[in-house]
Every structure is written in structure tokens, then in C-alpha cells.
Subunit: 200 residues, 2 copies
């Protein structure tokens, strides 16, 4: 295998792991199934990921976190309100397109206190949450919000979106995501118009 | 075994399952370990729960959902703002007391698309989310909010709390829960003071 196809095979395993984790969680994600899905010999997974499932999971979380951050950063260029709307639309599409079978892999590993999730996967999850929150807070600041208010609002957006994705999956309905949109928009407007009554 | 001790043994398995699920998720929760933890013969679990792990999990989610609802209902008697604050304090205590190893079992089963989580456990999770949201929305309406605004605000509170618990576990910090408190209080005040500017 030349370097290009090895890199391609490795990347296919990482993307496959991200998809399996966002559907089933980490414990139910099997390296054996992943290898089969990626048409890779099982032994190759230990070659690519000498740290085993924990390493593969950490890379899958980082991959997914960075992909989401790239979309969020691009959409935030049009301002925090447009960024928020695109963020909600992106997640809505994921739950609808998978018939509510998939959500967010970053959240999934955060709620599994098993040895293989602790360490690198959890650290990757914390980094992803921090990255998304930082992008939203930065955009809010760029549009007039005070730093503390921006961080509070950004944290609330990420938390509410993550929680509502799980609620959508439980209810097999997009209602939770649809219902939080208006209130989050009000909070973004309030944070970025600090001279208005009730601001920050 | 008389009926009382049988009921006690059964209840111990349900509470143990709720605790294991809120730490590890459903896939990593083993009926064998649960039986051992509850000092019950493995065979008795199939006697008490002929539907197997799915039945045990569904009862564990309902048990946990009802326990949370009972506390929330009691605290909401002092008004929606006190209810919200108590809800946040309750979850903060769970993550702190368990050194961030435990969160919400209702969220955990919602994000695991495995056959044993689908069906009764997922339905129990949807019922728990609906129950908490309904209690919060009812309290907001009782204190002057319009029905639609109350439902939006209640959904946002449940979603944000659930998401921030997961973020706290990833970060090993209570910051996410602490940061969302102020904004949620502003939303509760806005919803229950509909004559003020900015009310929806």
C-alpha cells in the first residue's frame, strides 16, 4: 500500500468510527465491525491505531468536532444570528436524514464513564465543546457582546443544541430543536445589543 | 421470599440499573453485574423482568424520571424561578458528588441507537423529558406566561440542562452548568412578565 491509500484507509476508519459512535455510543462501537465496514483487515486497525479503540475514538471525536467547527466558523462569518440558525439546521438535518438514529458523537462519549472513553476520547470531547463555544463567543464579541455575556450565551447555545438533539431522538420528532430556536435567537440579540434594557 | 422482600429485591435492581445507566450508558450496563450488586441470583432478574434488559432499563428510566419529576414539582411550588434554580442545583450535586462520573440516565438511553435501547427504554425517556418539560411549562403558565412561550422556555431549560451535564462531564468542571444559569433565569423572567419589552 502506498502512503496515499494507507492514509485513505486510515481516514475511512476514523470517519466510520465517528458515524458509529454518533449512532450507538462508544461501548457499542466494535473495532471488528468498523474494520469490516471500511474493508480493512482487523490487524491493520492495530497498525494504524496502536492505542486501540481509545485512540481511534479520540481521533473520531476530533475529526467530527473539527468538521462541525469548520461549518460553524464559515456560517458565523455572516454574523452570530446566521451562525446560530445554520448550526440548528445542520443538526436538524442529521437527525432527520438518519430517522433519528444519529446524533452527536461528542456528547455520546461524554456520557459514558467506561475506561475506554476516559482519557483521550473525553479530552477530545472537551476540546470539541470548547472549540464550538469559543467560535460562538468570539462571533458574539465581534458583534458587540461583552466577553462574559458572550461566553454565557455561547455555552447555553451549545448545551441547548446538544440536549435537544437527544430529546429529538427520544421523541422521534424535531419539535425540541425547533422549539429552542426562538429563545436562542432572543438571547443572541440581547447579548449583541448591550444598550437595550435587560441586556447581558 | 414474601411479597415485601421480593418487591424490595426488585426495586433494588431497578435503582441499581438507573445508577449504572447514568454512569456508563445502557450498552455497558450488564444484568449480571447488576444482579451481583443487588445480591440477587441472576435467574431472579429474568423472573422479575421477563422482558430482559429492555424491560429493566425502561423501568429504571421511568423510576429515575419520576424521582426527578417529584423533586421538580415540589420545588416549582415556590414558583418557576425557584424551581429552575433547584433543578440546576440538583444536577450540579449529582455530577460533583460522583466526581463527574454520573449524569442523566434519560439522556444516556436517548443517544444509544441499539436494539435493546429502542422500544420501551426510549419510550420511557421520551415520557420523562415530556414530564419535566410539562411541569416547567405548567409553572410558567401559572405565573403569567403564554402557553406557547412557556413550552418553548421549558423545552430550552430541559435541553440546556441535559446538554450542560454532558459538557460538565467532558470538562470535569461545573462551569457549563454554572454558566447557563443566568441566561435561563432571564428567559424565565421574560416569559412570566409578558408586558415587558422583549417578551414573546
Amino acid at each position: 500500500m502506498d502512503d496515499g491509500s494507507a492514509e485513505h484507509a486510515r481516514q475511512k476508519l476514523v470517519a466510520g468510527a465517528a458515524d458509529m459512535i454518533r449512532r450507538r455510543g462508544l461501548t457499542a462501537t466494535s473495532v471488528r465491525e468498523l474494520a469490516k465496514h471500511a474493508d480493512a483487515p482487523l490487524g491493520s486497525t492495530y497498525h494504524y491505531f496502536p492505542g486501540g479503540k481509545a485512540q481511534l475514538a479520540a481521533e473520531a471525536i476530533a475529526y467530527s468536532g473539527n468538521a462541525t467547527a469548520a461549518i460553524l466558523a464559515r456560517e458565523l462569518e455572516r454574523g452570530p444570528l446566521d451562525g446560530l440558525r445554520s448550526f440548528l439546521i445542520m443538526w436538524r438535518k442529521i437527525v432527520v436524514d438518519t430517522d433519528f438514529r444519529a446524533g452527536c458523537p461528542v456528547l455520546a462519549v461524554s456520557v459514558e464513564a467506561v475506561p475506554e472513553a476516559d482519557g483521550p476520547p473525553r479530552a477530545a470531547a472537551a476540546a470539541a465543546f470548547a472549540q464550538w463555544t469559543g467560535l460562538l463567543a468570539g462571533s458574539l464579541c465581534d458583534h458587540g457582546a461583552e466577553r462574559a455575556a458572550a461566553e454565557r450565551t455561547a455555552t447555553l447555545i451549545v448545551a441547548a443544541v446538544e440536549g435537544s438533539i437527544a430529546m429529538c431522538r427520544a421523541h422521534r420528532s424535531t419539535d425540541p430543536l425547533d422549539r429552542i430556536a426562538d429563545s436562542l435567537e432572543v438571547l443572541v440579540r440581547t447579548a449583541t445589543e448591550p444598550t437595550r434594557e435587560g441586556a447581558s
